[in-house]
Symmetry: C2
Subunit: 356 residues, 2 copies
């Protein structure tokens, strides 16, 4: 996902998080070098795959933590770094599941190792399997690293246990979402809008928004009412974010998002747009194009025109707006201190700005 606007909207710097991640990767790479050169190389690949990120989830942790008066930035940075490694783990394994070898134009872990193996003379299928095999291992290491860094956050043992529970819950939700997504992509029917929203919430919104915000609040020792309000905010803004992502995947500005506007249509990705459209009479005009692997730009334009004509675009924009409104309402319930409300509110606008 592209998070530039949101990164601009957050005022907390992830510099401390980068320090924690740098130390983690330096130590791990040094240890790996004592076992095998190939293992050292894998850790370097994992590090460069982690360094590309915008530190989006750490920013959520730091914003909640500092906005609630937390002062132990080193502890918060460990929590933030833990979520960044969780993100790495999940996308590395997601790419294995989606058979993707490239992320944002650069070879991912699977792609790097596929290319090395192919250059060394292995056939494409064997090289691809090697790439995916190494990515399975790399994702396990990143997931383990997430638990390690969370466990290293300096705090009392009750708080640490709760942070580990939040991390555990995030993995639990994300695995459910990933499983449901795999099922959506394999079977021919189109799920309902509610089913899509639920899948997107589980797969991405929980670990990207809800869990990091709650973790920051827990570490800051915030009252339950605040933790709960931030969880609600994170859930709703996370859903809005994913719905906007669905829109950008078809109607976005490729230059601004770095994401093609033909890929989702070509692969027949089940999104809120498609789920709504499939219930409209206009669907019969485009259903054969959605998921057509040889889709042309002209055909993609027909799909876009019909998605607008049938009201899917309007519906989806409205749906994103509704969830954003609920996010704002969660902040306005009186529990969250005004200074944190003031920091989080621009994020809501930034999420919606992406399609305006």
């Amino acid at each position: 996902m592209n998070a530039n606007n949101i990164v601009d909207a957050t005022t907390r710097s992830p510099a401390r998080v980068d320090e924690v991640l740098d130390r983690f990767f330096s130590l791990s790479t040094t240890r790996a070098a004592t076992l095998a050169p190939a293992y050292e190389a894998l850790w370097k690949t994992l590090r460069s795959n982690t360094n590309g990120g915008k530190r989006f989830r750490p920013r959520m942790v730091m914003t909640a933590y500092e906005g609630l008066g937390g002062e132990d930035l080193a502890a918060a940075a460990h929590v933030g770094a833990s979520f960044e490694l969780l993100h790495t783990a999940l996308i590395v394994h997601d790419d294995v599941i989606d058979r993707d070898f490239v992320r944002r134009g650069i070879p991912n872990v699977s792609g790097s190792y596929r290319d090395i193996a192919h250059t060394a003379g292995l056939s494409i299928p064997t090289a691809e399997h090697r790439g995916m095999s190494v990515a399975v291992i790399a994702g396990d290491l990143a997931l383990t690293g997430a638990f390690r860094l969370m466990g290293l956050a300096e705090t009392n043992s009750a708080t640490r246990a709760r942070l580990l529970n939040i991390l555990d819950d995030a993995v639990f939700a994300s695995a459910a979402g990933e499983l449901i997504d795999v099922d959506f992509s394999l079977y021919s029917g189109v799920p309902s809008v509610e089913e899509i929203v639920d899948m997107e919430r589980l797969k991405t919104a929980v670990y990207s928004f809800e869990a990091p915000l709650q973790a920051g609040a827990v570490l800051a020792g915030a009252p339950e009412s605040v933790i709960s309000a931030l969880g609600k905010f994170g859930r709703e803004i996370g859903i809005a974010y994913q719905i906007v992502d669905d829109l950008l995947g078809v109607f976005g500005d490729e230059h601004a998002t770095g994401k093609t506007t033909i890929g989702d249509i070509r692969e027949g990705k089940r999104t809120t747009l498609i789920a709504y459209a499939s219930t409209r009479p206009e669907w019969s005009a485009i259903s054969h194009l959605v998921g057509k692997s040889s889709l042309t730009p002209a055909e993609a334009q027909i799909v876009r025109t019909e998605l607008e004509a049938c009201g899917a675009k309007d519906f989806t924009e409205r749906l994103a707006g509704e969830h954003a409104d609920r996010a704002v309402a969660a902040l306005a319930d009186g529990n969250v201190p005004q200074r944190l409300v003031d920091e989080l509110t621009p994020i809501v606008a930034a999420v919606l700005e992406r399609v305006r």
Copy 2:
């Protein structure tokens, strides 16, 4: 690996471990059911894949813990259950990497989901990919569960931090071993005996012997000298176990081990036997048969005969014996209490018994 003799040689019961695992899976399955029926089904599959085990690693934990006077069996059972889930995670992901859909004659996670998808009308390659995708997710859940259960062991925070480090180190070693093994299987040269032993130690021996024994000792509050001696014992007996496994894969009693004696030769598995044989003149007579996918039983017999003739079988048996001797020596250094020495010594004999 087949561990019947060793299971017979351990006197500590894993009943408490089973209780912890039952509770973990029951809670997880109930939570999963609230998210999606497919997710509940995945948890049931993961549970049945975990229930097949002999609780070998938990037995190591319990033996060290109780043998050192530990009395909080509930805490020890959490540590034992953590290692059992780590084992599940590693074999589920190892099967993805090896494209195996069956383990011990029963469909594994990948196989179960491949079969469901194929029955539902998907092509074999698509069904296989679905099986492997679900197995990636399932392994992540088991790995997360391992960290969760370790974190739940009731002990002081310094001990818990150390236990989490041991678990982390076990994943770190195992990932290195898996990576080196992937490389061995892809490139044509035969590694040296030392390289094979090192790979086997990292991939399996650390997390199966060394780490569980050390974790049991740490939880029992044992002195450093005992933790270190048990680590040495675990490392050496773990290596001996893997070398014996190499022998059984070619010369074993299929009925007793439940493992074919043709599979390793057919897939060209890099083992200590093959590494030694490749340095002998007799190798030229069999190198074309090792890794021949259409290998016949008669050809497998030729390989066995030459492995005996060139001294590879004798060498490998001797090598296993040397590591077993070092394991015994580690116990005899005066640090480990006699009652625990008396419990661990039969395990050494049981490891070697497997080929006698």
